[in-house]
């Protein structure tokens, strides 16, 4: 398994290590519920070094990304982050990734860990075919990433950076220093809380981790693993690529229609248009259990004696103290308040379709 630069720290902290897409990652340090609640109430630090970073540089960097990605990036300002989708020629999602505009001719793409290679190959093949004047580099191995998440994140990070954090709006970033080391500080995350994604050299990320843990201790900062990351993102109604979506799923079938800008040309557009005109058969919805039990990935969804779909993500939600999930269901049942059943082992347990997100923080 691949290891992040922080692996030894997780072992020293006695984290439980799992294989996440070929990476040896901490799933929990103490327990998921505790780490989840700490994120909602104070702050936690996640090792996210496994995610991918791809740099795109050159006079036609924007032209390449405009064609490769579904989102219209024409209005994106330097210092702004945009979430976008990267599609295959069938209109299916290769990845949902974030686009950082570093300067007029310099962008950074932040990809999911498991799709980093396929993202790179897809964008690279578009670059070669269209002969845009720019170049790409996969900088994942030399880039470290930490997510500092939770309501106390700003107070903790402000002690270690000269940057004015209050001045950074959600989905914006600046290039500055953390603990005296060069870093990108982005106000964003995958937990539904306020917080920051911090990018720095892989050689420096361990020092930044140590400094944050030390400085944050007084504010209740704790490390958190992928277990809490998963329950946090699910409560906040965010999807996980490879689980809630895959290359066979279009952005229209999941709550990603807003990432598609039809007024520009992009790779996969004609297939997506065909799918749109055909109409959707199934759609991703949120549901909560009204009966006993916890829905899990792959459990079947039924209505009466008809099988209408499948659960893609399901868990016990610590903040809400109930069982929730995401499922693909036949379009006619994809309506809030629809009563359905989840097939749990050899029994059916009632659930109902609800609007996303399940949890929204008070601002």
């Amino acid at each position: 398994m691949k290891k992040t630069p922080l692996y030894e720290k997780h072992v020293d902290l006695k984290a439980k290590i799992i294989d996440f897409g070929g990476w040896a990652m901490p799933v929990q340090y103490t327990n998921v519920i505790e780490e989840h609640k700490t994120t909602r109430e104070s702050a936690t630090l996640f090792d996210i070094c496994h995610m991918g970073e791809i740099e795109v540089k050159g006079p036609q960097a924007l032209d390449l990304l405009q064609f490769a990605l579904t989102r219209d990036l024409a209005g994106q300002k330097t210092g702004q982050v945009k979430l976008s989708a990267l599609l295959n020629d069938r209109g299916g999602i290769i990845d949902d990734l974030t686009v950082y505009k570093m300067s007029e001719d310099f962008y950074m793409l932040v990809t999911n860990a498991t799709t980093r290679e396929s993202d790179f190959l897809r964008v690279q093949s578009i670059l070669q075919e269209k002969k845009f004047d720019c170049r790409m580099e996969d900088v994942s191995n030399k880039t470290g990433k930490l997510d500092l998440q939770g309501p106390r994140s700003e107070d903790i990070l402000q002690k270690l950076t000269p940057a004015d954090l209050k001045g950074i709006r959600f989905y914006h970033f600046i290039e500055s220093q953390v603990a005296g080391l060069q870093a990108i500080i982005s106000r964003s995350g995958y937990t539904g809380e306020d917080g920051f994604e911090i990018y720095a050299s892989a050689d420096h990320i361990g020092l930044i981790w140590d400094q944050l843990m030390e400085t944050g201790a007084v504010s209740g900062l704790k490390p958190a693993g992928l277990g809490a990351r998963d329950t946090l993102r699910l409560e906040s109604g965010m999807m996980l690529n490879g689980q809630d979506m895959c290359e066979a799923v279009s952005p229209l079938a999941v709550p990603y229609g807003w990432l598609v800008d039809w007024n520009k040309d992009f790779a996969g557009k004609s297939a997506l248009m065909t799918l749109k005109n055909q109409g959707l058969r199934k759609k991703l919805i949120g549901f909560e259990m009204t009966g006993r039990g916890i829905a899990r990935h792959h459990y079947k969804v039924t209505k009466g004696d008809r099988e209408i779909g499948v659960v893609t993500s399901g868990t016990y939600a610590p903040t809400l103290n109930k069982a929730i999930g995401l499922a693909f269901v036949v379009i006619e049942f994809a309506v809030p308040d629809t009563e359905v059943s989840i097939h749990i082992r050899d029994a059916l347990s009632p659930a109902k379709v609800v609007k996303l997100p399940f949890y929204k923080r008070q601002k």
Binding site: V27, Q28, N31, V32, I33, E34, H36, G227, D230, T231, R292, G293, I294, R296, T315, Y316, P318, A323, R345
Partner: protein, 132 residues
């Protein structure tokens, strides 16, 4: 941090305990080591009373936030009582796996089932090995 394994009962290699009541019935649960491995237990599915289970067969289900695990019957028998409190407070297993967190009581179908089970010392040795 693990609590020590009580000597008044027997253990399976799958980390269940059996306490023979001496009247043809036995209480069954999972060990403190098992609850520690599972961490935050958030759901327990109990067997219906009257259900007959064979030794080694799934008898109940314990779920943590991230996992679903079967509890195997360490002995064969008929379920005569279940710890209903676990339906509302599954975390009782985390807090007290050996006592308050018991799962079911069985009427033993064959006392011979108890023989191959481990005593506390043998079970201590087993988990010590697993930890390495």
């Amino acid at each position: 941090m693990s609590k020590s394994n009580p000597t008044d009962r027997l253990y399976s290699k799958d980390h269940e305990w059996v306490k023979d009541n001496g009247d043809g019935t036995a209480a069954v649960g999972i060990t403190d080591y098992a609850q520690e491995m599972l961490t935050d237990i958030v759901f327990v599915e109990l067997p219906p009373i009257g259900k007959k289970v064979a030794k080694g067969e799934p008898m109940a289900v314990v779920e943590s936030v991230k996992s679903v695990s079967d509890v195997f019957a360490p002995v064969g028998g008929e379920v005569i009582d279940v710890n209903k409190i676990l339906e509302e407070t599954p975390e009782l297993i985390n807090q007290d796996a050996f006592h308050e967190g018991w799962i079911a009581r069985l009427k033993l179908s064959n006392a011979e089932d108890l023989k191959p089970l481990l005593n506390a010392a043998a079970y201590d040795a087993l988990i010590k090995e697993e930890k390495h």
